[in-house]
């Protein structure tokens, strides 16, 4: 801490590396009768996407990076809305001045997904046709649909070609889909801790989460708005999810068999162990910020994701993309294991695509992409510097 500030709280916006205070923005498009046709054949419109931007778009609009979030993420990737916010955005450790996604150089856009519940059109939104929340009448969506909606947003921002698209987990699926389906719009793609298709094990965990929500007596076929929400089911789904984001090692390190606020077993079914307390806390806090129906829709979109479709094979699917890739996986990630990333790399290699692949030796499981230990950000910083340099982008400020 600099001299003289000891004992005082430095406002978030003044901390080095912080993007400061940010604002959520909205863009609405596909107004009827120009609805978007979804992969399922259903139509959706109007569509609103919530998004945030950090940094400055340069004059020729060539320094834009699109950040894509995971299952429970949102558009709030960096900074704080108010100084008093407890936490900054979900990828604040990587977005900001001097960070991997350096807002002194790049114009960073973070987009929410359709089907979400954080400001974008999703099951909790009002269906203009009925004046009521969509609930389960919301059409099924896919990762491809999410990306197609984001294309509207990027058009709206006047950006022809994104310097990079990136995200972890489901965000990585979007980063892959962007590059494969819109190769002319993406110079570089950085899919992290992701897969071309979720394993049956992953689908199984998602299904248990969905069943937990739908089995909640307050679920009422998704028609619970204005009433008691299915909090037990959603909390349980989140608890299961959190187990899959950690690793055996990280659980040992984080909790061990430590007891929670007691010296001996309680000999009852209340919380004994730290790990139980952690999972319950994660479940309980999640229900305050997330919608159960959105959880159903988004997990289903993750399950449906298959990059090889509609081509039939991954090798064919990635054929013809000029995008430069940096694919990152984590050794201890058993939900999106490295072998799945290697399959994508292999298909790209066969096509002669410019793909760099790094397997980071982290112990933190799938969560590693959020918990920066420095290695990932360094790799991204260097990769982006190279992409920016070879595309003639040096300093946003100097334009």
């Amino acid at each position: 801490m600099p001299e003289g500030t000891e004992g005082k709280t430095v406002p978030h916006s003044k901390q080095p590396g912080s993007i400061g205070l940010v604002e959520k923005q909205f863009y609405t498009f596909c107004e009827p009768p120009h609805e978007m046709e979804l992969a399922s054949g259903a139509k959706l419109g109007p569509i609103t996407l919530a998004y945030e931007t950090y940094g400055q778009l340069n004059r020729d609009k060539s320094n834009a990076i699109l950040i894509l979030h995971a299952l429970s993420g949102d558009a709030h990737a960096a900074g704080k809305y108010e100084e008093s916010d407890k936490h900054p955005g979900w990828w604040d450790n990587n977005i900001g001045p001097g960070k991997a996604f350096d807002t002194d150089k790049y114009f960073v856009i973070s987009s929410n997904v359709i089907g979400g519940c954080q400001g974008s059109t999703g099951p909790p939104s009002i269906n203009p046709a009925t004046g009521k929340e969509y609930g389960l009448s919301f059409p099924m969506i896919t990762v491809h649909d999410m990306v197609r909606a984001q294309v509207h947003l990027i058009d709206h921002l006047g950006i022809g070609k994104l310097l990079a698209v990136t995200g972890g987990s489901m965000g990585g699926m979007q980063a892959l889909r962007w590059a494969v389906s819109f190769p002319d719009r993406v110079i570089a793609s950085i899919p992290i801790a992701t897969t071309s298709k979720l394993s049956p094990q992953g689908i199984a965990f998602n299904e248990v989460g969905r069943v937990a929500i739908m089995a909640d007596p307050n679920f009422h076929d998704g028609d619970y708005y204005g009433k008691t929400v299915p909090r037990e089911g959603l909390a349980l789904a989140r608890m299961i999810g959190h187990i899959t984001y950690l690793s055996d090692d990280s659980m040992h390190e984080k909790f061990g068999r430590k007891l929670r606020g007691k010296k001996s077993f309680g000999y009852n079914f209340n919380v004994d162990f730290e790990v139980e307390s952690y999972l319950r806390y994660k479940g309980d806090t999640f229900v305050h910020r997330f919608d159960a129906n959105s959880y159903l829709y988004i997990t289903k979109a993750i399950d449906y994701f298959d990059l090889s479709l509609p081509h039939g094979s991954l090798v064919k699917a990635v054929e013809g993309t000029n995008t430069k890739f940096l694919i990152v996986s984590f050794k201890s990630d058993w939900l999106y294991p490295p072998y799945q990333a290697r399959e994508i790399v292999k298909a790209m290699m066969i096509n002669g695509i410019d793909v760099t692949y790094c397997e980071i030796d982290s112990r933190y499981g799938h969560d590693a992409f959020l918990l920066d230990e420095g290695e990932m950000s360094k790799i991204i910083t260097n990769f982006l510097a190279n992409v920016a340099e070879s595309n003639g982008i040096l300093e946003a400020a100097s334009t």
Partner: protein
């Protein structure tokens, strides 16, 4: 796997490779050879490296590199997908040198293989006089903790090529005895510390 030193072998390899070609560097380490190829020869370069540290150094140099095991990784590459496949100072560290060598000449139109000559006189002297596994400035590892598991001599390598229909197009022998220069003399199997070969499939 050689400790850092005078990289005369790099200049030899740079001389072997024409500008603008497509090159795959197997076991590219920190990318020090590949970056010279990309910058000085404008090659389209790709690297495969097993260590995360090596991969990170390559990324920092702006190289395209894949973290992977070359003992497993080459079968996915189509035939002749590179003009040159380089295996420099790595042959002795792979599990199956014969498989890797035949894959090099399947995936590449030409192969470049550089390795330390185990029959180099200092090695022979070390083994003869001390009766211990040789250690040198460039091969400083203990026998129980070395990445190098398949040493061979120049004679062994030539014999392998003859038996397996590998055509030796060019050979450069290197010695550190007089400042790491190219060796122009007799008995390379005794006096060369390193050998670099330009190879192609004989049939």
């Amino acid at each position: 796997m050689m400790a850092e030193g005078a990289r005369i072998d790099h200049s030899v390899i740079l001389d072997f490779i024409p500008a603008g070609t497509k090159v795959l560097d197997l076991g590219c380490g920190d990318g020090s050879l590949l970056v010279k190829l990309v910058r000085q020869k404008a090659v389209t370069g790709r690297g495969i490296e097993i260590s995360e540290v090596g991969v990170r150094s390559c990324i920092a140099k702006g190289l395209t590199v894949m973290q992977g095991d070359i003992d497993k990784g080459l079968r996915d590459y189509p035939d002749n997908s590179f003009d040159y496949v380089v295996l420099n100072q790595t042959l002795q560290a792979v599990k199956k040198p014969d498989v890797v060598l035949s894959e090099i000449l399947r995936v590449g139109k030409k192969g470049i293989v550089g390795f330390p000559n185990f029959a180099y006189w200092k090695m022979r002297f070390y083994l003869f006089s001390y009766g211990r596994m040789p250690k040198t400035e460039f091969l400083p590892f203990e026998w129980y903790d070395t990445p190098n598991i398949h040493f061979c001599s120049i004679v062994d390598f030539r014999e392998y090529c003859a038996k397996n229909g590998v055509r030796i197009e060019k050979t450069v022998y290197l010695s550190t005895d007089r400042g790491g220069r190219v060796l122009r003399g007799v008995r390379p199997n005794l006096f060369a510390e390193n050998a670099v070969y330009l190879l192609s499939a004989g049939r």
